[in-house]
Amino acid sequence: MPNGTTTTDAGTELLPARPGEERGTLTGWVQDLVFTVDHKKLGMLYVGTGLLFLVIAGWMALIIRAQLAFPNGHVASPQEFNSMITVHGTVMIFWVAMPIVFGMINYLVPLMIGARDMAFPRLNAFSFWLTFFSGFFLLMSFVTGPGLYGAGAAPDAGWFAIAPLTSPAFSKGPSIDYWSLSVLVTGIGSVTGAINIMVTIICYRTKGMTLHRMPLFVWLALVTMFLVVVFIPPLSAAQIMLTLERYLGATFFDAQSGGSAILWQHFFWIFGHPEVYILVMPAFATISEVVPVFSRKPIFGYPMMVAASVLIGFISAGVWAHHMFTVGMNSFQVTFFAMATLAISVPTGIKIFNWLATIYGGKVRLELPMLWCIAFLFQFLIAGLTGIMLGVASFDWQLNDSYFVIAHFHYVIVGGILFAVFAFFYYWYPKAFGRMLDKKLGLWHFWLFTIGFHLTFDPQHFAGFYGMPRRIYTYQPGRGWEVWNLLSTIGAFVQAAAIIVFVINLLWSGRKGKIAGDDPWDAWTLEWATTSPPPDYNFEKLPEVRSRRPLWDLKHPEDPDWKFE
């Protein structure tokens, strides 16, 4: 699409050529990124920020694994190790997973619903920059206090900042404040971003795109953003209380003044468990778009998929205390949260069966996005099964806070969510950059990462069974943990190698990759109806939306979907 003035068929001027914009120069490029309110550029900034922090927090993971590779390790001091696990967890959730989730949705939702931009473009930029700067604010903690070497004043109370470790008596200095204030700020960014996305979906759909014709990606984005709107504020509230406690002497979580440290855990996990679904729903969304296109079949059971997503959203509000089975709740509470946890696996199971039914009998094309999806299905199933095991309270009493839990949630977040994120990259990169990601490098990336992932996290289940607790900075030989830890560390470095291949692929393919064309995968949703990359105004002309697969109708006028839906 050439730059300059463009007109619609109605003849109205959409995009006057902007004077004084220096395209092609470095300053022009930076200006463009800093001042942009375009949802596509902000989406890419979000995802780019997520990748940058992925490398930083991944580096911390390597330090953790190097320390634990052998008994009595000396890579990091105990205090540095505590900072590493805390900041690794916090950054991975709030500045890797969340920005990537928001980036995916930011980029795709307006394109998929045929909108020109988000409902509030400037608010969108505001949300992004809050997230961006708060991340660096947290990392700044490493260079304050004792300085660059070592962990500085980095927070070290675990990523869920357990009370009373965070009270002024036990955490002197600003370390916990870096944690609570940076997460508070990015939380504000997330909520404003989520409101923006929900309003966009509800109010800016193109003509004909009724709720039951929305792509599943958009439906899941809607549910995800609802969860953000409702469940980020509890965390913000708890962090406000924590800050009041640390600075004004309030006594919310201080047992000596009658306060309750358990209440902190409740407040944290009221946020913390829905957060898992905030992260995994966009992964489901990606799988729900990629699997049908590469199986050459419409998604199986669309209404059930929507219902299951909404149901997961609701049930996720009532499962949080399964993180707390060992704090000593009464049997009614334990039973309630155990049953709710088992119940939530039903709609999740429905989704897995629907994806399998979509693949079943389809003409499967094993392209790269589909490979990641298939690996996702296997790994997410295992992650779900270990989740059910941990949801059974009596089992959880044995293995809570052991490496089994670490293995379980890394199976969810890496084996599930990150694999779906890679499917997202391989599927939509051609749309964003106009070039395909290289297949050979992509296969290297896929196999290295899959092997590395299993090598890292499969052994951790066994380390957990053998009683290895989480958060320990070292361990004695002779407990049967050595081999699992060594395998795990080797796996972590294989994953790091895979990430390097991936980054090379991203950079190389952006310049030299095969030209993609508008619709390289022969797909069905609206984003493929425009050019790759899409112009600033997204669409010159929108196809008529009369079914869930508007592009199928366009390509097959003799056999359109709307006759059957």
Partner: protein, 194 residues
């Protein structure tokens, strides 16, 4: 299936949906503070206790609940196009909001200097000042918005297309009012009588 191509394609206003979501997320925020307050009723290890120092907030409540009525009157006059009455009722609403804040300030001065209750005194102090303070900060934001609209309208910058903006501000004001109803129930009725 309804063929939407034939019918008019109409979607909800983005302002209305956004305000509903703002109210939803604020509700979630308040819920946690209310839960903390309820959870810690009767758990303070030392005084002062709610029943000793809290008095039912007649004046503040009349001001705030009354302002929800006057803002409806103001909107009514705006829709009828009588700008003078709109200014009058909107001005009263704004004054009531400011009055509520002054009443809160007075209550807090009394509690801090005469009853020796601060945020660090005991659990009651921590939960009371955080919940009531969070509400007061929302009244402050609401009063600022009310004042802004008043100034803009008096200087003639409010046009017909801004009516929905004004309705949204009034929704926010009603929300702040509803929260106050919850605060009264939890703080001034339940905890002061337990």
């Amino acid at each position: 299936m309804v063929n939407t191509n034939e019918t008019e394609w109409r979607l909800p206003s983005h302002r209305v949906v956004a305000m509903i979501l703002v109210i939803l997320t604020e509700t979630a925020l308040f819920t946690i503070f209310v839960v903390a307050y309820l959870f810690y009723i009767g758990k303070s290890l030392s005084g002062p206790y709610p029943r000793d120092v809290l008095h039912f907030p007649w004046l503040g409540s009349i001001l705030l609940f009354g302002s929800s009525g006057t803002i409806v009157a103001a909107e009514h006059h705006l829709k009828r196009g009588s700008l003078r009455d709109f200014h009058l009722w909107w001005g009263i609403t704004f004054a009531a909001g400011v009055g509520f804040l002054l009443w809160t300030a007075n209550e807090w001065i009394h509690l801090i200097y005469h009853e020796r209750l601060t945020i660090s005194t005991n659990l009651f102090g921590s939960t009371f000042y955080s919940l009531v303070g969070l509400h007061a900060s929302h009244v402050l934001v609401g009063a600022f918005l009310l004042g802004l609209i008043l100034v803009m309208s008096v200087t003639g910058r409010i046009q017909d297309r801004h009516h929905e903006h004004i309705t949204m501000i009034s929704w926010y004001w009603h929300f702040v009012d509803c929260v106050w109803a919850v605060v009264i129930t939890v703080v001034y009725i339940i905890s002061a009588n337990s």
